[in-house]
Amino acid sequence: MTKAWPWLLLALLALVAVVNIYYGGQRQPRQLLLNCSSELYDHHDQQQSQYFLLLDLQASGHDALVNYRYFHTDGAPAGSVMMHGQITRGAAGVNYQIAISDKQEQLGDGQIPEHMQYLSYISDLNLNNHAVHPMTLEVLDADDKQQYAVVRVQPGNGVYGCRLQQ
């Protein structure tokens, strides 16, 4: 009975060590690259205007770059919002939290898309009041082999189907 003690202890320690080695690395934020292209349709006074939105998320280690670029249908830039922040992976490894600490905005030609106006407004509000704009990237569906991820971005509750490169 007494002789079994060290072995039991050793077995438990070995189990913890093995689990740590196998799954420890998975929690670290890896290289992550998401490219999401979207069609934007704005409605004003029975009029519809169309834009394109390219959302890119680039993360390496803890640094994240979130870039929203808006284009007119002829390819001319309609504006952009580029944000920098720190990315952390959620406990279960499904979601990502991005704490945006600064952003750069550029205006394009013509009208600003509604989507950009909202993004600019909400990030201004958070950065001015709290010095940080918290974003969440929730992975709804993803496949490394097929290289896609369907994500939901908060704030805004917007869903995006994206090309995924890891």
């Binding site: 438990l12 409605h43 406990a91 989507h115 709804l140 369907v150």
Partner: protein, 180 residues
Amino acid sequence: MAESGIDGCCQNLVLITEMIQKFMLNSLSQPQPPKYLLGEQINPAPRMVAVIMLLLLMLGVSVYFIKKFPVSDAILPLAQQTVTLQSGQSVQLLLFANSRVNNHLLQATADTVSAALMQCSKSPWQQVYLSISHEKQILNISLKGERNGHLALRNIKADDSDRQMGFINQQWLQGVHLCD
């Protein structure tokens, strides 16, 4: 055959009874407790420490595993429905909302989208993700499927700052070629 069988059984019974009697006699004549019990009575402290240590270790390991493998924080759709196209192909419609309440607009929009999908003779889309951005009333439609054996993705975001999704109807969805 039958007799020898009964004999065998009775012989066994006799043997067992003798063994029990011997055991009882022995234990009556030697009423001392076994040695290890005696040892415990003399000094129970080290054993108690060991038991407490084992319990603490088990607690630690449990906490470690719970931290390591938390219950999945996967986002579940508010609702999902399956639309069957004219070709018999089925398309999954997934609705995502921030809260479980006050999603009439999302539900109504989902009905419009599913009705529009039903008009498609065929479509590359297998999954359709729907959500509404609350503050600005932007409708998000993300489509995922397969075209010529390759993955196909499409995102549509429609904004209506004047009316709540008033523009969303069959005609508009056909205008943006939802089927393709």
